[in-house]
Symmetry: C2
DNA sequence: CTGCATATATCTTCATAACATCTATATTAA
DNA sequence: TTAATATAGATGTTATGAAGATATATGCAG
């Protein structure tokens, strides 16, 4: 291992958030330094010599946006020569899921600003970060077909229509609520509470649901299978 | 990007091969140098400053085993501190599929030997390479449920039972041949030839099949869905 | 030659999932 | 009161999955 190498290793994160009002969003930071100064980019940075990749990304998120998240999955490593104009950087990317309302995001260190952007309305991104966002979105779409999704994105109690809207927002296509509900309920990771939602305006108020955390994580591990 | 970082980036490959006689195999090299001198390990090595990750892994494969493969997919990045006793190394891993009989493997450069090992009978591996192999095997298993697999592993013409045996070897469980055949044939990426297999011993000789390359790659891109 | 073992080919039936859509109910607003 | 809206529940048709029966083509042994 005496060979000389001049490559830096970075981690970057695609942080997805969901609210009923805003839909599916991605957390971006505005860069404070060159290159791409003042451009929006994914939060991230160099890996420390003694920290794991996961620790590195959690640290960078905390530093740049003051967010921490507990759903974190490695996405892909982007290593094309020239992706960073300064020197060779290989970026190991992750995606995570959070409830936006649970955090007050605050830009710091390398970031002059931090904000949520609806995934259908992203600004031009620095580096190859648009590709990374696309890859993460594709991953999340696929994941929804073989694992329960929603625990980290929805409120503790929510009407079933919120889960439905989440799926439609991510998959970007309509879903039949009646069939979808029957399928989801059959898996058993969702429980009905005794409460009803409070609606603005007309409409029958629906029951509030919550995830059965134990069953949710069990099925996340085992996998599920259904078509939408 | 003035921060100092003392991390090396390596690529490593899990090369799967399949033959009817040996089953599913993994290509390993015997290390020539410390650490883990004389231990079996996955082929790989450091990324060059100016080469892509894919080029790096292809080069290392060629150098260490004289194999080249055209099915290559990034698996995962392993970056736990301490995984290499010398210094900090992050390894970006790939897996690939080849026909073992199409190559005469020959160890060279960092490798004193190169050989195929049945996946159920692997020797102790250097570093965290056993985890990498497991991850690759899990990936290949999953992949078989949503993409056609076989083109890079089977002979140009083969009896249907070979495809069946391939799936059973990878998934490590029995498959009902009749149902499996019906499902696979329905996708359309398999063509029947006018030839029959030559059997050793008794048994009705079956027709030889071959992949329709165009349809195979189309469906690999689009995805398929079936249960086994 | 017959019988047996073996491997392949074809088909059927029952169970389950997917897809499409109808009807009923509870709420607000006009 | 009617109309609009959102939720709840159910049904029917089609497609897929799982299990298994039957038929056919080969080699081998007696």
């Amino acid at each position: 291992m005496s060979a000389s190498q001049n490559i830096k290793v970075a981690v970057d994160a695609v942080v997805f958030g969901y609210t009923s009002k805003e839909g599916l969003s991605v957390l971006l930071i505005k860069r404070k330094i060159k290159p791409y100064k003042d451009s929006w980019a994914l939060p991230g940075g160099l890996v420390g010599d003694d920290e794991s990749l996961e620790d590195a990304i959690q640290r960078e998120l905390k530093e740049e946006t003051s967010i921490s998240f507990n759903y974190l999955e490695q996405l892909y490593s982007f290593g094309k020569p020239g992706r960073d104009p300064r020197n060779r950087v290989i970026s190991i990317t992750y995606y995570g899921l959070v409830k936006p309302d649970a955090f007050e995001i605050k830009a710091d260190t390398d970031a002059s600003d931090a904000a949520w952007f609806n995934i259908k309305n992203l600004p031009p991104l620095a580096f190859d970060h648009d590709q990374i966002v696309n890859a993460a979105h594709d991953r999340l779409k696929s994941k929804m077909l073989y694992q329960p999704v929603g625990f980290e994105l929805l409120e503790e109690k929510f009407p079933f229509s919120e889960l439905e809207k989440l799926y439609m927002a991510v998959l970007d296509r309509p879903i039949d609520r009646r069939n979808f509900k029957k399928k989801i309920v059959k898996f058993g990771f969702l429980e009905e509470t005794n409460e009803k939602q409070a609606l603005d305006g007309a409409g029958r108020p629906g029951n509030l649901f919550r995830f059965n955390e134990e069953k949710y994580y069990l099925l996340q591990k085992q996998g599920i299978s259904f078509e939408i």
